[in-house]
Symmetry: C2
Subunit: 103 residues, 2 copies
DNA sequence: TTAACATATGAGCATTTGTTCATATATGTG
DNA sequence: CACATATATGAACAAATGCTCATATGTTAA
């Protein structure tokens, strides 16, 4: 058994950062949104339609994903087109999905 | 923009499974516990001491991690010695940590 | 400009979550 | 056996979370 001072400890800032990423991925609706956006850019209404969510719920979750810089968007006419902005997080998501699908 | 039926959709069971894994990793104290256990086997009291948590809090979280089969344990005298039981999840954790440390 | 559409945002609410406190269970010791 | 030690577990509670409803903001079209 190691002494406490021999452990590799994590900076609290790193712990918080990683926690935010995993929290973002942990919610089923955000997971589906990110998985959808990893396949194609979507405007907000499309996400709501495909995932059967309300416009408001989608928008709230997009605000959260935006704050974490996991998605970005651009305006296209009346719509805002969202897409993934963090390949590494998408990679984590795909790995976890693969793991769950091939246990 | 794809039609809904052209998307790769995730089975609800897979979504739930992945969600549980990410939820487990998302809590700072569970994250520290798993990170610690990935470095060495620990008995419950040691985890509590190293991470500055109560015995009860540690035990509750271990029960959760056990239910997800992320940790296993064996008895050793009066103590229960816990260790990681899912290399893939540890790999996800380490990747996320690396990503946060080298942004 | 005005009306319609697309999205964002704030408040309120029900659910989930992580902790503490008290107590139960199980093992080792004299 | 009786007692101490190590861990587990249930109840209760505060904080965080994700949704809905109502409304605000911004863009396009007439």
């Amino acid at each position: 058994m190691m002494k406490a001072e021999d452990h590799l400890f994590l900076d609290e800032s790193v712990v918080e950062e990683v926690s935010k990423i995993f929290k973002a991925l942990a919610d089923p609706t955000r997971m589906k949104m990110l998985y959808l956006l990893s396949q194609e850019e979507c405007h907000v209404g499309h996400i709501a339609e495909v995932l059967g969510m309300s416009q408001s719920a989608v928008s709230h979750q997009l605000a959260l994903l935006r704050a974490l810089r996991l998605v970005k968007y651009r305006r296209e006419g009346k719509s805002l087109v969202y897409s993934c902005d963090d390949d590494h997080v998408i990679s984590l998501l795909r790995q976890a999905i693969d793991h769950a699908q091939h246990p």
